[in-house]
Symmetry: C2
Subunit: 207 residues, 2 copies
Amino acid sequence: MAEFPAGIKNLIAAFERLPGIGPKSAGRLVFYLLNTPDSYVNQMAGLLVALKRDIKICKRCFSVSEEDLCPICQDSRRNQQIICVVERAIDVMAIENIGGFKGVYHVLGGVINPLEHVSPDDLKIYQLTERIKKLKSEGNLEDLEIILATNPTMEGEATALYIKKRINEIDDSIKISRIGSGLPMGADLEYADQATLSRAMDGRRDI
Amino acid sequence: MAEFPAGIKNLIAAFERLPGIGPKSAGRLVFYLLNTPDSYVNQMAGLLVALKRDIKICKRCFSVSEEDLCPICQDSRRNQQIICVVERAIDVMAIENIGGFKGVYHVLGGVINPLEHVSPDDLKIYQLTERIKKLKSEGNLEDLEIILATNPTMEGEATALYIKKRINEIDDSIKISRIGSGLPMGADLEYADQATLSRAMDGRRDI
């Protein structure tokens, strides 16, 4: 590739650094962009610069925001007593996309993972307990619900259990739930792994 | 997603327009970029702008270039008598990456495709015949070889045949070849489709 314009090679290299994009896809993307209108490519460049310039972290829930408080935390129609705890801001987007959730969020910024040296102090767990303490001091304990929506992985489960313990220390009566786990829609019992099937059995519901 | 910052939504939409990137991948890329250093994202934005500003089309071979003639056409060590005809500039990159080819290229800009209203006049076929006529007038006919390296698809085959006819009209004695077609390396005879297997049998070589 020594003979190729540096502008193309460098952009391919930049695309290659993105997750899930290998050298071949990166090349295809760059040559696709070469054949698109200038306006689209320039708009994309502008959006990239704006992304880093304009996007901040919400001071309350640590999701992405253009202001100090994100639109969800600012929204008086959202139930501020139901806090859905997720690993990352992209998980907020996933839940918002289903459209039914009327509570608010708390983004941890990851999960406890000793192998990768991520301890509870590296996450926004302290900020979550402080948030709950504040709601408690405002006397809204009964309506409070904390939904632990970390991923159903080993680390996600451990993090959920850890957070449950921390919340119980504040007040035993706070309602804590964990998102449902079991067979995904459209799945086939025959091909499900044991852990998932076992979860699906444990999580059975009356109909 | 109504609650998400416009900067994030717009960039996701821009990424979604790229080939092979769906809404989920686009979201993942944007949230990945949010967590990368500013320098990387800003460099990428700069490269995108530069791509459209600096990259031109080589006047001789119609590949990508930063000057009027691409580095391959300018290179005196390359054999200007061996012209490899490809569909797109990205194919030039693919062949350059294997490293052994010492000739030059001619980028057609596509293939003849009546269903998509692409006729021979939409491609750089006239420019190819002019290029060959010029080489002929310079008296280099004997060493001349045209390698037709369009894709082994229906349209690619038809385009190769069409170009062969046009070149034969200039001079019957010009050497024209077609890239080899058959089983890809690592393939399994058992799973090969009939057309490929038939090509592999026809294209057998003495060893």
